[in-house]
């Protein structure tokens, strides 16, 4: 109780200090120079450079397919080539006279007539982090696999904390996710895909929680790529029975098929779409929440002065810490859910519905069971 009162008192004190500061700093309306602007959205958005704030900035190569294949080591060299120009300079030619140089918008257009490029296949920041995640997975689990091949873990107990932790996760995923959704006979064929899916997504989710790190899964293109992979895994492995349930649902009146077939075909695409949106939205929402929470400090600072801003900062930063802990949980949960739904869809495509067809032949006068 006393502690609570003390905290409340301290907070009031800070608020008062802020009040004084607000009076003292009325006329400090200096215009913000462009150089001072902090690109906070770079924590969420895709960029054509990797920036370790305060350390170094690394420009990534641009690959553009438009009137042939063009390859440049950085956006700047693409601009220097004379073929492409930053859209910013094309729209604001006076920027050259003002002494501005270097890429601004990073959107390249053709220099001659300003038309947008046909296909921008540039390696962006999220792609690099995606590859890093894949490389890390390959490195960790490749080494682990070699250990198991040499007999450690099979003939003896697993050695070391890393191996034990990995084995717990792998065995849980194999038994509870892959085997229970796909079935005893065929699960081994899909376990590698689903497990690597899980770990790559997990690493990608966790990367964003590191300083300077990025979450590639907060980008719809990355999650869409993952979902498309699952889409092909599902549909290329679909059994005859699976396609029969899409195009000719057994036990359904012929007239109903006119409605059923489009809905089923739509269902083929909405499943991976939901998969992509779910992962993307969950990852982006966490980042957005943290940025908004931290942004509240600056809003308070602008409204009531620096003191209130700093004082309320204690609250916002502790909220942020809470969200951060939630994000660690969500990183594991969303990777798990993506894997589980992939396993579920693959399992549905492989399922043999032969046991269901008995209902139609049963002479007990029951309605044919609707097939799910």
């Amino acid at each position: 109780m006393v502690k609570t009162l003390r905290i409340a008192f301290l907070f009031c004190l800070l608020l008062m200090l802020g009040g004084f500061n607000a009076n003292a700093e009325v006329d400090t309306e200096t215009p913000i120079e462009p150089a001072q602007e902090v690109d906070i959205l770079s924590k969420m958005g895709d960029r054509y450079y990797i920036e370790f704030e305060g350390l170094f900035k690394f420009y990534l190569p641009r690959i553009i397919i438009s009137d042939g294949l063009h390859f440049y080591s950085s956006t700047k060299s693409a601009m220097n080539s004379g073929v492409f120009q930053d859209q910013f300079y094309f729209e604001n030619p006076q920027a050259f006279e003002a002494g501005v140089s270097g890429p601004v918008s990073y959107t390249l257009v053709h220099t001659d007539d300003g038309r947008p490029v046909m296909l921008d296949m540039s390696i962006s920041k999220h792609v690099v982090w995606f590859w890093l995640s894949g490389l890390l997975t390959l490195l960790i689990f490749g080494r682990l696999a070699n250990k198991y091949k040499s007999g450690i873990g099979r003939e003896t107990a697993p050695r070391g904390a890393g191996m034990n932790f990995a084995e717990v996760m792998i065995v849980y995923l194999r038994d509870e996710v892959v085997k229970s959704n796909i079935g005893e006979e065929k699960y081994l064929k899909f376990a590698p895909y689903l497990l690597s899916c899980f770990f790559i997504i997990l690493f990608m989710n966790l990367f964003g929680l590191m300083p300077w790190g990025q979450t590639p899964t907060a980008d719809i293109s990355v999650t869409a790529a993952l979902a498309i992979t699952t889409f092909f895994m599902v549909n290329l492995n679909g059994t005859k029975d699976y396609w029969k349930h899409v195009f000719a649902m057994p036990g359904v009146p012929k007239l109903m098929l006119i409605i059923m077939i489009p809905v089923e075909i739509l269902g083929l695409f909405t499943k991976p779409f939901a998969l992509a949106i779910r992962l993307f939205a969950n990852m982006l929402a966490g980042k957005m929440l943290i940025l908004s929470m931290l942004g509240m400090i600056f809003i308070f600072m602008g409204m009531y002065g620096t003191g209130v801003g700093l004082g309320s900062g204690i609250i916002w930063v502790s909220f942020t810490l809470f969200i951060y802990a939630l994000k660690v949980f969500a990183a594991f949960l969303q990777a798990f859910i993506f894997t589980m739904f992939s396993a579920l869809f693959i399992g549905m495509a492989l399922e043999d519905h032969s046991h269901d067809h008995h209902h139609e032949e049963e002479p007990d006068g029951l309605q044919p069971a609707t097939h799910l």
Binding site: T270, L275, R278, I337
Partner: protein, 72 residues
């Protein structure tokens, strides 16, 4: 149009009402089931996540419409 923003905001709120209610019901059901049969807790948890994920998926479809409205 300013009303597009209003529609997007209201829509997001209504979606959250529905999705929150739905996921809450699943949570309630799962809690009840786990309390009644603690030995089946693992299976119940997996089924709960699947059902919650499906509701979440439907909610995200609606949220995407809100985003399209807000960006239009």
């Amino acid at each position: 149009m300013e009303f597009a923003y209003l529609a997007a905001g209201l829509g997001a709120g209504i979606i959250l009402l529905g999705a929150g209610f739905g996921i809450g019901m699943i949570g309630k059901g799962a809690m009840d089931a786990m309390a009644r049969q603690p030995e089946a807790a693992g299976d119940v948890r997996t089924a709960m996540l699947i059902a919650a994920g499906l509701i979440e998926g439907a909610a995200f479809f609606a949220l995407v419409i809100c985003i399209i409205l807000a960006l239009a």
